[in-house]
Every structure is written in structure tokens, then in C-alpha cells.
């Protein structure tokens, strides 16, 4: 009789652990999906940059420093990946992309001095695409932070943390509030 009670108890504990493990896996997948969305929109921005730079070059060739700054920041950011999404990795990724943002902001500020460029349809389209992409980036970052927070909270709660520790689940990092993401300048209608 006693034997059966022990077996039953062990079975309950095992099933319970399996449940927690499975939840951890599915939440981890959720975080990965949200991250791929983040990478996706940043890639989209990276794809726009060469086009933008070459368009600006046609009108403002002697702003070489600014243009090269953008390409350089882009190149550096392309080399940074999220890896295992640990706090350091996410922070490093955010920083590299933040540098692209500031380089782009500098470029768009320079553009203000070239009215011909600002009236160019191609440039206006690129600018609109860039703005749309920045909006999507903000959205993707928000989404990632949300699921990462959910995962972290679940993972660190007792007794889930025991299972998480046993199977090597790591805490995920968050994106910091993006101070470089300045608001689009207001255009008076």
C-alpha cells in the first residue's frame, strides 16, 4: 500500500515538473518569435539605408562625413546579433542600433539645408518608408519587452525557478527606452 502512495506522489511531481518545463519552453519560443520580429524590422531599416544614402549623395555630395557615418554605423550594427538574448546581448544590440538611429538623425538634420533634395519625390518616399520602419521598430521593441517580461517573471517565480535552473533557462534582457528615437518634426498644415 505504502509503495503505491509513494509511486503516485512521484508521478504527480513528475507530471507537474513536465508541465512547468513545457510552459517555459513555450514562453521561450514566444520570446524568440518577438525577437525575430525585432531583427526583421531592423533589417528592413538596414536595407533602406544604402538607397537613402545614395539619394542624398546626389544632392549633397560634400556631406561626406555624415553619409559615411551612417554607413559605418550600419555596418557595425549588422555584425551584432542578439545571441542568447541575455541582458548584455540585448543591451549591446540596442546600443549598436541606437548608433544607427543617431547617425540617421544627423543625416536628416543635414538634409534640412537642401531644399531641392527635400522636394525630390524619391527622397520623400524613402523618408516615409524610413519613418514607417522606425514606427515598426518601436512597436517590435515594445512587443519584445512585453513577452520577455512575462517570461522572466514566470521563470523567476518559485517553484518554476528550480526547473528553470535545472534545465539552464536564462533570464532575457529588455530594451531600454530609446532616447535617440526622436519624434518626427511637426509639419504645420
Amino acid at each position: 500500500m505504502k509503495k503505491w502512495i509513494i509511486i503516485a506522489a512521484v508521478a504527480v511531481v513528475v507530471f507537474w515538473c513536465v508541465g512547468i518545463y513545457n510552459s517555459l519552453v513555450s514562453k521561450d519560443e514566444g520570446v524568440k518569435t518577438a525577437w525575430s520580429q525585432v531583427e526583421n524590422v531592423y533589417q528592413r531599416r538596414a536595407d533602406l539605408i544604402p538607397n537613402l544614402v545614395s539619394t542624398v549623395k546626389g544632392y549633397a555630395a560634400h556631406e561626406k562625413g555624415t553619409l559615411e557615418g551612417v554607413m559605418e554605423a550600419r555596418g557595425k550594427a549588422m555584425g551584432v546579433t542578439g545571441g542568447n538574448l541575455s541582458e548584455e546581448n540585448v543591451a549591446a544590440y540596442g546600443k549598436a542600433q541606437g548608433e544607427v538611429s543617431s547617425a540617421l538623425n544627423r543625416l536628416l538634420m543635414v538634409v534640412e539645408n537642401y531644399p531641392d533634395l527635400k522636394a525630390n519625390q524619391n527622397f520623400l518616399d524613402l523618408q516615409a518608408q524610413l519613418e514607417g520602419t522606425e514606427n515598426r521598430i518601436a512597436e517590435a521593441r515594445r512587443g519584445f519587452n512585453e513577452v520577455a517580461k512575462e517570461y522572466n517573471t514566470y521563470m523567476r517565480t518559485f517553484p518554476n525557478n528550480i526547473i528553470a535552473g535545472m534545465f539552464g533557462f536564462q533570464q532575457k534582457g529588455y530594451f531600454e527606452a530609446d532616447e535617440d528615437a526622436k519624434k518626427a518634426p511637426k509639419v504645420e498644415f
Binding site: A119, E131, R136, A138, E139, A184, K186, E188
Partner: protein, 269 residues
């Protein structure tokens, strides 16, 4: 915490007709209209007869192509970024169907009397297509519609033609991408329903056949309130029904916006 609530009160006082649509819930967004409407003139800038005709055009467009275009005018956004506001609003209301084929046209009017709003002197407008229509209405096109078609009217605070003409253009673009009659979806639901009915009948037959074994607790086969989306559909599951797009930029000369070359361009005036 205190200020938004006061602001809400001020809005309620200013718009007695729309009272109750504004809530002081934490997201600070208006509740989705009940009964559902596609033209939501919270800023009271569209005369009633024009609002009704615009609504009819949009409902007809929704019926024939399943693309939902939703117009929202606001007196103020409480200083929030228009794209962020519009995205949250579109997602909250679930503009569009399961394919995320909704478009939200959000217009914040110039409202210089409203001192609580830092952006009161500006008109702000955003065209926000759902994910399913991003291909049909890319950012550059949305920006062109705003810049070239709406811009000249908005500069003169002439909101109604700005909205109707933008609508016509958005419809022309959207119709090319997803175009299937509304009842296509309903038919699917119908088959599903039929399936469940047959299933229930089979189960009932089985139960009555073995009366002796005492068919315990009848399993009610009803699926909790399905009621296909009529105006505002969209599963609440997807967190990105509407995606941010164009904000505002101005150019001098209005130039033609690239429109698809199919002849079936809906009219919206």
C-alpha cells in the same frame, strides 16, 4: 494620474453627443463604437448627412471586398504621438478581419482653444494599414496621400474633402490587394456550423441508442457566441492588427498618386 481624468471630463463636457464613448480607463482610448461604425467623428467636423453617405460608401466597400476602412477624427490626442495612438486604437477596436485588412485613418484637428493640448495648433493625420494591407498601401503611398491629396485641404482646415478623397484613394489601393466578398467568410462559418450540428446529431443518436448505459450529463454542443465580425472583427489574439505607418511631411506641388490600373475605382465623395 489626475490630469488625464480632468481632460476626459473636459472632453465629455465639450462633446455631449459622444458622451460615454470616452472612458477613463488606463489606455485613454475611446471605446469601440456600439453599434459599430466606420466613421467616428469624435471631433464633430463632419456634417451628419456627409457622415452618413461616407459611412454607406465604406460599409459597401467592406461588404464587397472585406477591407475595412475606419475613419476617426479626434479633438486631441492628449499630446500622444499620432502613430502610436492610432496603432493602439486600431488594435483595441480590431479594425479589419482576421486577415488584418483594416485601415485606420486618424485625423487630429486643429483646436487652438484647447490649452491643455501641446499640439493644439497642428493638424495631425495618419493612415495606418493593417498587416494584411501593408503591401497594398506601403508607407510611401500613405505619405503621398497625406502630403499631396490631404495636405492642401488640411492647410485650410477643410477636413471633409481631405477625408473623402483620401478614402477614395485608399479604397483604390486596397481593392487591388484583397478583394473578396464578405459572405465568403460567412459561408465558411456556415459549413462549420453544419459540421457541429451533424456531430451533435450523431452524438444524440448514439446516446439514445444505448439508453441503458445512462447517458450522463448531456454535452451542450453550442459554441460560445461566435457571431462573425460584422464591422469590427479580428481576433484579439494578434497583437499587431494595425501597424504604424506614415506621419506627415509636406511638399509643394501635388502630384499624381500611383493608383492601380484596374478600372473598378470606387467613388467616395
Amino acid at each position: 494620474m489626475f490630469r488625464p481624468f480632468l481632460l476626459t471630463l473636459a472632453l465629455l463636457a465639450a462633446l455631449p453627443l459622444q458622451a460615454g464613448l470616452f472612458d477613463s480607463s488606463k489606455d485613454g482610448l475611446p471605446e469601440s463604437p456600439d453599434p459599430p461604425r466606420l466613421v467616428n467623428d469624435f471631433a464633430s467636423v463632419i456634417p451628419a448627412y456627409q457622415r452618413d453617405s461616407l459611412e454607406r460608401v465604406l460599409v459597401a466597400f467592406d461588404d464587397s471586398t472585406s477591407n475595412q476602412i475606419c475613419i476617426v477624427t479626434m479633438p486631441t490626442l492628449d499630446g500622444r504621438e499620432i502613430v502610436e495612438y492610432g496603432t493602439a486604437l486600431g488594435n483595441k477596436w480590431g479594425v479589419g478581419s482576421k486577415r488584418n485588412n483594416g485601415v485606420l485613418i486618424l485625423l487630429k484637428i486643429r483646436n487652438p482653444q484647447l490649452e491643455s493640448d501641446p499640439d493644439a495648433k497642428y493638424v495631425d493625420v495618419a493612415i495606418l494599414p493593417g498587416r494584411g494591407l501593408e503591401g497594398a498601401i506601403p508607407d510611401a503611398y500613405a505619405a503621398r496621400i497625406i502630403r499631396n491629396i490631404m495636405g492642401p485641404y488640411l492647410r485650410e482646415d477643410n477636413y471633409v474633402p481631405a477625408l473623402t478623397e483620401a478614402c477614395a484613394e485608399v479604397m483604390a489601393l486596397a481593392a487591388g490587394e484583397i478583394s473578396e466578398p464578405r459572405d465568403g467568410e460567412e459561408e465558411e462559418d456556415g459549413w462549420e456550423l453544419l459540421f457541429y450540428i451533424i456531430l451533435i446529431i450523431i452524438v444524440l443518436v448514439l446516446i439514445t441508442r444505448r439508453k441503458h448505459s445512462g447517458g450522463s450529463g448531456t454535452n451542450t454542443g453550442s459554441r460560445g457566441g461566435f457571431g462573425g465580425p460584422i464591422i469590427f472583427g479580428g481576433g484579439g489574439s494578434s497583437s499587431g492588427a494595425v501597424l504604424p505607418v506614415a506621419s506627415v511631411a509636406l511638399a509643394a506641388a501635388p502630384s499624381a498618386v500611383a493608383a492601380p490600373t484596374d478600372g473598378s475605382r470606387p467613388v467616395c465623395r
